[in-house]
Symmetry: C2
Subunit: 224 residues, 2 copies
DNA sequence: GTGCAGCTTATTGTATACAAATGCCATTCG
DNA sequence: CGAATGGCATTTGTATACAATAAGCTGCAC
């Protein structure tokens, strides 16, 4: 982390994810270099990486822009995520350890608490949800899969405002996680994969519905 | 293509795929820079890209190495490829044009000729096969999918010596392609996806079998 | 007033110099 | 004799300078 290159990468990436760098806006190496307090060299390194991860795009005259996804792109990403994460579940079912299962149960209990409390804490839910899924990926033990999933899982925050999923949906996630845990305990990869597919698809539909009703955000952010 | 950076990228990539740069061997920026006739800067750019595409790996002290895949990694790649390419087939079924179908038929006829001739021409088969699959990807029209598939489709040549698939297997590929074409004509995405899954899986099994009997290459190339 | 030409400016590409870090080897001390 | 340590060599990281390219603008001609 002490490398300027890594700092620049993380900085830029988080600026994209947080929406600080707006989708579609042009990126100038010099400007980012000043922002990160480094020279253009590490910024360029970072841009190449982010480009490969499709967070950054370039036009034919080598100008860089923050990726701006259409709703189609987004649905495509969710489809890919459903497939990849189901595959992860299948692999994980064969390899997962008791210790990993225990950690998953903890996170699942925590995310349940987060939405069942009198004052629901959605960010906390999101965090434990993320960790729950991360353990599956860890158990799947495929570097390639991990890097591919990163590309379709992390998305700019402007496209998934925190309050968008209603609590009912969040609670259903919790129950689907329960079912995943049972599938893992039985080391039933097919079952785990099927549950995961349903889980991700449902999440997307909830998401798409929330956005189709929210015409204001939908119109402005999802326009090409 | 006139950019030194692109030239370096293509050069290094092809050296990896051809086996000229052996899996596991260390990469020194300076050496590659001389080889490509450029400075270290574009070489570094290329290495970052190739790293993101998992053709190049780095240890914890920032040294780069040509990726060296285990048999497990390879099977993993094929599984991913089966999923991704099935998804491509599904998308393609909805979008493919008459013109694209026509081109696919031409390539399929050509690859049939290549293996049915008195002197079978395996490289020619491979080329038309590649183009056949490329058209499906083109019809699927998903950039993300395209870049992901590139990572699991292109592999060092040392791991797939030209003669490895016997002609019988190649002919079966031709017939599976025929079935894909019918599925596309009927715009039946599920069918196309199912055929594609079977197609890729069979190809992997033929491949794995050829390699398990060829202990010499298997031992030397697939060792960690 | 409109369109094109050429220049000006902004931005990226490349090379090089130097700094930092890593690995290797030899030397020394227990 | 083995392990630890210090310094040297190799390799990568970063900054900067300059070259090349593309965009934008100004002014001229029609």
């Amino acid at each position: 982390m002490s490398r300027a290159s890594d700092r620049a990468y993380n900085h830029i990436r988080s600026m994209i994810l947080s929406g600080e760098l707006q989708p579609g806006s042009q990126i100038r190496e010099e400007a980012l270099a000043e922002l990160c307090g480094v020279s253009r060299t590490p910024v360029r390194d970072s841009l190449r990486r982010l480009e490969a991860e499709m967070f950054v795009r370039r036009n034919d005259s080598q100008r860089s822009f923050v990726a701006n996804w259409s709703l189609d792109d987004l649905e495509d990403a969710f489809q890919l995520r459903a497939m990849l994460e189901s595959y992860a579940a299948k692999r994980a079912a064969m390899r997962i350890t008791r210790e990993q299962l225990a950690r998953m149960r903890i996170h699942n209990a925590q995310l349940k608490q987060a939405v069942d409390a009198v004052h629901p804490d959605v960010p906390r839910f999101i965090d434990h949800n993320r960790q729950f899924h991360a353990i599956i990926l860890e158990a799947a033990a495929s570097e390639r899969l991990t890097s591919m999933l990163a590309q379709v899982t992390e998305q700019p925050v402007v496209l998934r405002t925190a309050r968008q999923y209603d609590l009912e949906n969040l609670r259903r996630s919790h129950h689907e996680h329960d079912e995943l845990l049972i599938a893992f305990e039985n080391r039933d990869g097919e079952w785990a994969a099927a549950v995961m597919t349903a889980h991700i698809r449902r999440a997307f539909h909830a998401y798409a519905e929330a956005h189709s009703t929210d015409t204001e955000i939908g119109k402005t952010d999802l326009a090409a």
